[in-house]
């Protein structure tokens, strides 16, 4: 780096920062003044959100579930929703405001985001149906899984165990195949094959392959 910098760029104007600096933190930093209640949120949600996320946050098809799944995080098939998994309501406000509705991002007013967030809290049994979320009531509500996260501990828990000198010969008594991908048969074929097999593949569609779930 150069002493005194390079003198490149120009000062950002307050209006420019206000236009782009939309992020919200768990402590409420960044929240604009505004409010919205559960019932206003329901109307907006049914119009703008339910076609993908379902009337009650239960989701349509593979779109994300927004409600339910309580008590499933240690189950074989955890259901991770705003209510069951998300730690902070600030994230709901921030994400709905910055990126939703999908395909029409940043079209919601601040009050609309408060209302939709209030409705999502209601769907997840966090608030009653007469609740109004605002920059002032924001601090009164907390999500149940706030304490469910901890800082990456691989350095302590995994690195020592995985930094041992490994076995090089006669490492096991017996080694057998325990699982085969071809049995599941969910891998895309080449284009020609896909067309030929389309009918078959649809019928034999895999039950529920596990994906990264974006």
């Amino acid at each position: 780096s150069r002493e005194g910098g390079y003198g490149l760029g120009r000062a950002a104007l307050p209006e420019e920062i206000a236009a782009w600096d939309i992020d919200i933190r768990p402590d409420g930093q960044g929240l604009p003044v505004g409010s919205g209640d559960v019932w206003t949120g329901e109307e907006l949600y049914v119009t703008l959100c339910s076609s993908c996320h379902g009337d009650f946050g239960e989701a349509v098809g593979r779109w994300p579930m927004l409600s339910g799944g309580f008590g499933t995080l240690d189950a074989e098939d955890p259901v991770k929703t705003v209510g069951s998994y998300w730690p902070y309501i600030s994230t709901v406000w921030d994400y709905v405001h910055r990126a939703m509705p999908y395909g029409a991002a940043q079209t919601l007013t601040d009050d609309e985001v408060y209302a939709i967030t209030a409705y999502l809290l209601y769907l997840n049994n966090v608030v009653d149906d007469d609740f109004e979320l605002s920059n002032e009531t924001f601090a009164e509500v907390a999500l149940t899984n706030e304490g469910g996260f901890f800082m990456d501990d691989r350095d302590d828990v995994e690195i020592p165990e995985f930094s041992q000198e490994p076995c090089m010969s006669d490492c096991a008594e017996n080694i057998e195949i325990t699982m085969r991908a071809a049995v599941l048969d969910v891998t895309p074929e080449t284009e020609e094959e896909t067309v030929e097999q389309a009918a078959v593949t649809e019928e034999d569609a895999p039950e529920a392959p596990a994906g990264p779930d974006p």
Binding site: A99, M151, D152, T187
Partner: protein, 424 residues
């Protein structure tokens, strides 16, 4: 370099008569095949030997041979709800060396590819700084630049394999990765230009696309080796890789490498945004989840043979090759097993060994036509050894989605066909 050492020692062996006798001759593989009749590809004139080809003006931006048309990124339809917030896969089984061609580098978008005129793009730095700044792309090109080769691996790479063998091909099991040469401005220089306040501890990069991707990154990392990249493999970034600028976060999960970068906020706390709470947190068996699992651990995969690239030549000399990488350093060594991890052989590394970059390894052997269970095991420069999937499951369960760096097994049958399997 170890490659040179290996080469000179094998040359010495070759020159010594005893080594020849105990090597190739002993296995009888020096008996070359005899053609029954002359090969018309040799005895008859071929069109390309007689007629003129395209001129130098026919291909201003060249494409691969038509015979390589199958070497493409591929989508797995059932993985995601649509193709816009989705991922595709680098064809690792068709590649050599360590550099991913730009047109084959996997894509991961959350709201599709933003198509941005660089003249209309701005980068803002604001928050806990002395002078909030706005840069144009022209401004950025006036800062000192660096060239670095890094892998970018999606945190979800191999995530579909947590519960067992699912997808049949290394493109699908390991192809959410690319490795390119980035040219960019150290993020440190841009932050210093704005003047970071002493209370600052975190930065929040944000994308200009409709997902407005944000991640909290500790200031130490931002000041250490992060780049604001303008170029990949010598040309401007591809639109799908964040044109005109993306963040480069060496060794760390791909989600943090914010594309179409438009803003960097400096703060004193992490933001806990959607991509570091709902997503990119790793659920363990007891229902608690790791957050901020940034580093990608040492990992490797055999790319040939593999399910999409079977052995077609029958018994005899056979080349096993693959790639290895670590977010914590270089890869000095890879072990290869032919019998599912019962016995291991030290592979031969070939090509550059760069920090937080892909490495290429080879293991050559005479295949006798018997079934094989192929595995590779990466060692990184910190002494970390790539674990088995079972070792990872013991510690994490099966629901953490991200950061699956377990050892991959390919079962090769007598015909040379390869399948993704688990062994135990």
């Amino acid at each position: 370099m170890s490659e040179d050492r290996e080469f000179s020692s094998s040359r010495r062996r070759f020159l010594g008569g005893a080594a020849v006798a105990t090597g190739a001759l002993a296995t009888g593989k020096l008996v070359h095949a005899q053609a029954a009749s002359p090969d018309p590809l040799i005895t008859e004139l071929q069109p390309w030997q007689q007629y003129l080809g395209d001129g130098v003006d026919a291909r201003p931006y060249g494409m691969p041979s038509q015979y390589e048309a199958h070497v493409v990124r591929r989508n797995v339809e059932w993985l995601t709800a649509d193709t816009v917030s989705s991922v595709n896969f680098t064809p690792l089984h068709e590649m050599e060396g360590i550099i991913t061609p730009n047109g084959l580098a996997f894509e991961r978008h959350h709201s599709g590819i933003a198509e941005i005129d660089p003249g209309l793009h701005r980068l803002m730095i604001n928050g806990l700084v002395d002078k909030p700044l706005v840069f144009t792309m022209e401004d950025l090109m006036r800062f000192p630049r660096e060239n670095r080769t890094y892998f970018l691996e999606c945190a979800a790479n191999t995530g579909m394999e947590w519960r067992g063998a699912q997808l049949n091909g290394c493109q699908f099991t390991h192809g959410m990765i690319h490795n390119v040469v980035y040219t960019g401005v150290p993020l440190r220089l841009l932050l210093e230009e704005a003047g970071v306040k002493t209370s600052a501890a975190w930065v929040l990069p944000e994308g200009a696309d409709a997902s407005a991707m944000t991640r909290s990154i500790p200031l130490d990392k931002a000041l250490d080796d992060c780049l604001v990249a303008t170029h990949m493999n010598g040309e401007r970034l591809r639109p799908e890789q964040g044109y005109p600028i993306r963040l480069v976060v060496p060794g760390w999960e791909g989600n943090m490498w914010v594309k179409w970068l438009r803003r960097i906020e400096v703060g004193d706390q992490p933001w806990h945004h959607r991509e570091e709470t709902s997503k990119y947190t790793d659920l363990l068996e007891d229902g608690n989840a790791r957050r901020f699992t940034w580093v990608m651990d040492a990992k490797s995969v055999i790319t040939n043979p593999s399910p999409q690239a079977p052995i077609t030549h029958g018994p005899g000399p056979t080349v096993i090759t693959g790639v290895a990488w670590s977010g914590r350093g270089t890869i000095p060594r890879v072990d290869v097993s032919l019998d599912g991890g019962m016995n291991w052989h030290v592979a031969r590394m070939s090509g550059p060994s760069l920090d937080k970059s892909m490495h290429r390894f080879y293991y050559e052997f005479d295949w006798d036509g018997a079934p094989l269970l192929l595995q590779s095991r990466a060692h990184d420069s910190t002494g970390y050894v790539q674990p088995t999937k079972e070792m990872l499951r013991q510690l994490r369960g099966e629901n953490s989605i991200y950061h699956n760096n377990g050892i991959q097994t390919w079962a090769i049958d007598e015909t040379g066909r390869a399948e993704n399997v688990e062994v135990g």
